[in-house]
Every structure is written in structure tokens, then in C-alpha cells.
């Protein structure tokens, strides 16, 4: 069962690498925000998987809870912050 969790965690890390394309190349700022949010929601599951691999779930579950809240707050704060800066969206589309 440990091996299953190990390879699931590796696959999840690969998916996070895949969605890193959007934050790096995304045409607008909101596209980058979508990518960051998706990576954060995958990280929450990955943290619990790491806890199961190391047999310390009781410790890692608190970190996962804190990370979920932090991710939510970061997205809210970033979207409220970028609402007021219209000029930022004028960057040329990336083709």
C-alpha cells in the first residue's frame, strides 16, 4: 500500500508540473491565478499523501488544513488586489 501512495504522490507532482505551464506562460494575470489555485488544491492532497507515506498523518493533516486556508486567502487577496489595476491586462497576448 505504501508503494501505491508513493507513486500516486509522484504522479500528482507530475500533474502540478504540467499545470505550471499556465502560471509561467499564461497570457493574462488571471490565467496565472487559475494555475496557482489549481496547484494549491493539488498540494493539499499531496501533503496528506506524504503524511501517509511517512506514517505521521496526525502531523501532516494540520499542515494540509493550514495550507488549504492559506491557498484560499491568497487567491482572494490576489484577485481583490488585481481588480484595481486595469493597466496590467494590457500586456500583449502570448502566441
Amino acid at each position: 500500500m505504501d508503494n501505491v501512495f508513493l507513486y500516486s504522490g509522484l504522479y500528482l507532482a507530475f500533474l502540478m508540473l504540467l499545470s505550471l505551464y499556465r502560471p509561467v506562460f499564461g497570457p493574462t494575470v488571471v490565467d496565472r491565478m487559475i494555475g496557482v489555485n489549481a496547484i494549491g488544491s493539488k498540494t493539499t492532497v499531496l501533503l496528506i499523501l506524504i503524511g501517509l507515506i511517512f506514517h505521521r498523518v496526525d502531523m501532516f493533516v494540520d499542515i494540509a488544513l493550514a495550507y488549504a486556508m492559506l491557498n484560499f486567502l491568497a487567491v482572494l487577496a490576489a484577485s481583490r488586489y488585481f481588480q484595481k489595476r486595469k493597466g496590467l491586462y494590457d500586456e500583449p497576448p502570448y502566441r
Binding site: 500500500m1 499556465r22 487559475i34 486556508m69 484577485s79 496590467l88
Partner: protein
Amino acid sequence: MDIIVCLLLFAGLFFFTGGAVGILRFPDFYSRLHPAGKLDTLGALLAMIGLALFNLHHFSLGTLLTSLKIMLILVFVFLASPTATHAIVDAGVRAGLAPWTKGEERR
């Protein structure tokens, strides 16, 4: 028991894959939000239910509390994810991004 856990975990990973591929493939910002915000939510739901079930193998007060905490994360994700999606959409709308319609080239 292990089979149910593996099934739930793999279903969650499948929806996560859908979310990651959807972010890469969809043509514009509004349609990218569909897989990003919600396939990830269902994936997290299935995977976390599986992990909470696996955690209950050796039943004691400690593991029960840990599983309850995982369920708490789940409830929080279910409340927070639509709100975060709505905040991002609001930022996009106020910036004046026009939705992609059929026939245009992808951005």
C-alpha cells in the same frame, strides 16, 4: 477495503488529470476556469474520502480524530472553492476581458 481505497484514490487522480489537461487545452480564461475550479474539487473530494477511509484501518481515538480533520478540510474546500472561483471571475470581468466565442482563434 484496500480495493475501495485504491478505487477512490485513482478516481480522484483521474479527475485531477482532467483538470490539469483542461487548463492547458481550453481556449480562453472563462472556459479554463471550468476544469480548474471544479474538476479539482471533485478530485480532492474522492481522494480525501479514500485517504480518510484508509486512515481508519487501525481504529483508535487518534485515527478517528485524524479522519475527522480530513473531513473538515473537505468541508472547507467545498465552501472555499466556489468562492475563490467567483473572486477570480469577478477580477476578470472588471478588467474587461471578453469571453471567447465560437470561431475565434484561441488565446
